[in-house]
């Protein structure tokens, strides 16, 4: 094993580099991805090493980025698009929803669109409006897209490469406030040994309550689980990793054991991805549930000014509060 200690951002950078080395058809495109290396430096050094033909500083137009990525994919390339911030994906929403997601079916399977749309997501960095959003539910609701979210450096490294290898379009969420988190990453492990892109992972086993999370919330839930343990409560934390498709078997296996479930995400609770989880778990685990599935998330309001974001985002206290409430039924 060649272990390297990498930040999540550097793990993505390393994964992108590997994908570009392994397949000359892989392209990187977006605003400021060239010399600057992206505003979060995820593409740092790639243009220098792979050239301007493969690492493309695009005009400032998100619809243009995704729309031309579709054309490049039709011509046999595997474009990886960077959307600079979550709130800026919406100009590209038309291309993603009406074209990228549906062209495969429209062609009766003759066309394949291996496009990855990378989106730094979530809050907690004190940013201005449109820089802290969690738009995953718009995309999980769109059939034809695969939607994944990494939460740690090791997964970031493998998942970005698996997403690029996928024959389907993948919306790839990156937890921007975790970009600087460090961990050991085995950068030389054979892909055959990697966890599957669409499989969930139990990141902390437990007995009393299943806590489901993805992306930036996983770390928060692990902290909550440590705090709960001090009070004698054992939380099982599952990192979903993939939202569409969903590894429902991993989820139900856990909930059938614990009988209690709390879902955590930064996006607003109302019509959020947690609603899908709660409904499915209720259908599949109804007789084993000791309490309703509870959801902890952002308020059902626009993302607030940053001085309020600590109140808006699920934190340890709110997760533990929900855990307590599952015992009140």
């Amino acid at each position: 094993m060649t272990a390297a200690t990498l930040t999540l951002g550097k793990a993505l950078n390393t994964g992108l580099r590997k994908a570009m080395e392994n397949d000359p058809k892989v392209l990187v495109m977006g605003e400021d991805v060239g010399k600057l290396g992206g505003v979060f430096r995820i593409t740092d050094g790639l243009q220098k090493d792979f050239g301007e033909e493969r690492v493309i500083d695009t005009p400032l137009a998100e619809s243009g980025i995704v729309g031309t990525a579709i054309g490049l994919a039709l011509r046999g390339y595997r474009p990886v698009c960077e959307i600079q911030f979550d709130g800026f994906v919406f100009p590209a929403a038309d291309q993603i929803i009406t074209q990228l997601a549906k062209m495969g079916m429209r062609s009766l399977g003759k066309l394949s669109l291996p496009v990855v749309v990378r989106i730094p997501c979530g809050g907690g960095i004190g940013a201005v409006e449109h820089h802290s959003e969690s738009p995953e539910a718009y995309f999980t609701h769109t059939a034809g897209l695969r939607v994944v979210a990494c939460s740690n450096p090791a997964d970031a490294f493998t998942m970005i490469q698996q997403a690029i290898a996928s024959p389907d379009p993948v919306i790839f969420f990156e937890p921007k406030r975790r970009y600087w988190d460090k961990a050991e990453v085995d950068v030389d492990a054979a892909p055959a040994g990697w966890a599957p892109l669409h499989g969930a992972k139990t990141v902390r086993p437990g007995e009393h309550v299943t806590v489901l999370a993805y992306g930036p919330s996983v770390k928060t839930c692990l902290e909550a689980a440590s705090a709960a343990a001090e009070e004698g409560r054992s939380l099982e934390v599952i990192d979903l990793r993939s939202l569409n498709p969903l590894d429902i078997d991993a989820v139900t296996a856990s909930v059938n054991r614990t009988g209690r479930c709390v879902v955590v995400h930064e996006a607003p609770v109302y019509s959020g991805f947690g609603a899908e989880l709660a409904a499915r778990i209720t259908e599949k685990c109804f007789y084993r549930l000791e309490s309703p599935v509870l959801r902890v998330g952002g308020a059902s309001t626009p993302y607030p000014p940053s001085r309020l974001e600590d109140h808006y985002l699920p934190d340890l206290d709110r997760i533990l509060d929900a855990v307590d409430r599952t015992f009140a039924w």
């Binding site: 600057l36 500083d57 201005v128 000014p305």
Partner: protein, 377 residues
């Protein structure tokens, strides 16, 4: 014109060596332009100088406040003062401005208190001033969106039937060189043209969209794009406050009298970083910044004032002192800005009472209260 002659159209060279409408040279010499006569009283020139100095000082203070952690971010206007003050002072009472997030100088001209601009960057609100009161819409962060809003607003003015009357107002949309690539901006050009909307598109071409130079957005000078949409486009020295004033004044008047849209490309330079989180040393040369320093928008007005005996040291000192005072008040006001109450998150999401907001607000209030009980018990 053949296909090949179009292909051979000058790209980078014309982008770099433009012909500019200019009334004041970088050395501070007044020059005339046949289409843009401009008569300014001494008091008016002094007023422009005062505006320029004060907005630069406001900007500097905001950068300092960011460095000290008091603001989360700041988008500096350094270098673009003349484009903003020149166009801003061309506006009259009934005009309406749709800014980006960098139009601090235009905001100053529209009497938006500088402290109000800081709320968004400090993270205590998303803007919050009254656009109607100032004729100055909220800052728009998403690139280019506001150009369509401005066009629609102008279509409203048109439908009010006031064009050509004293109560006619023009609409002016601000945006940058990067924004010209956005679909929204191109759609705004189409709508404005087709409906002959009373609007001025004011593009501050500051040469950089974060790290991407102009040639990543265009192969022809931006002002020439207007022709393709069917309305006039002009390029003005964006560091010349006189020229920006004269050109914008004329374009606004054309709009108010029903003569339709104009695109003004103010050729200027972003002397600082894109925002306080950006690092231009990664992508551009210091020499380029040094070259633009020689075209500073404030120094040339100062030179003009002094050379023509329109201002003495006392006046210049007074302006400096006033700018310092504005900055001091801005700093004090910023530090005193209260954090918003947690429950205010649920306010103004809808115009009328909404059951989900009420429910979540009550739940959150009870949740917050549970901590107080723990403390007191």
């Amino acid at each position: 014109m053949t296909i090949d002659s179009v292909r051979g159209a000058p790209g980078a060279s014309e982008l770099a060596e433009p012909e500019l409408i200019r009334l004041l040279t970088p050395e501070g010499e007044r020059v005339e332009h046949p289409d843009y006569p401009l008569e300014l009283s001494t008091a008016e020139v002094r007023g422009l100088y005062r505006d320029l100095v004060i907005v630069r000082r406001i900007d500097r203070e905001a950068v300092a406040l960011t460095r000290q952690g008091e603001l989360g971010l700041w988008a500096s206007l350094l270098g673009q003062e003349a484009a903003q003050i020149g166009s801003g002072r061309a506006l009259t009472e009934h005009d309406m401005v749709f800014p980006t997030y960098r139009e601090h100088g235009v905001a100053w001209c529209r009497d938006v208190p500088p402290l109000n601009l800081l709320g968004l960057f400090r993270g205590v609100n998303h803007g919050g001033w009254d656009p109607a009161e100032h004729g100055f819409h909220l800052y728009t962060v998403v690139i280019g969106s506001q150009t369509l809003h401005a066009t629609g607003y102008a279509m409203g003015v048109q439908r009010d039937g006031v064009l050509g009357t004293p109560s006619a107002g023009a609409t002016i949309a601000y945006f940058g060189d990067g924004a010209t690539s956005q679909g929204d901006v191109n759609e705004a050009f189409v709508f404005a043209s087709v409906f002959n909307a009373p609007i001025v598109f004011f593009c501050q071409n500051n040469q950089w969209a974060i790290s991407e130079p102009l040639e990543k957005q265009t192969r022809i000078p931006l002002y020439k794009r207007a022709q393709g949409y069917g309305f006039p486009g002009l390029r003005v020295d964006g560091n010349d406050v006189f020229a920006c004033l004269a050109v914008t004044r004329k374009a606004l008047e054309n709009a108010r009298t029903g003569q339709g849209p104009t695109l003004i490309e103010a050729f200027t330079y972003r002397m600082g970083a894109h925002t306080t989180t950006d690092d231009p040393t990664r992508y551009r040369l210091k020499a380029e910044e040094e070259a633009w320093k020689l075209k500073d928008p404030i120094e040339r007005v100062k030179a003009y004032l002094v050379r023509n005996d329109l201002a003495d040291t006392a006046f210049l000192d007074d302006v400096e002192a006033e700018a310092k005072q504005v900055a001091k008040e801005l700093r004090e006001g910023c530090l005193a800005l209260p954090d918003p109450a947690p429950l205010s998150m649920f306010e103004h999401v809808y115009a009328e009472e909404h059951p989900l907001m009420t429910e979540e607000q009550e739940q959150f209030a009870a949740y917050l209260a549970s901590f107080e009980e723990e403390v007191t018990s």
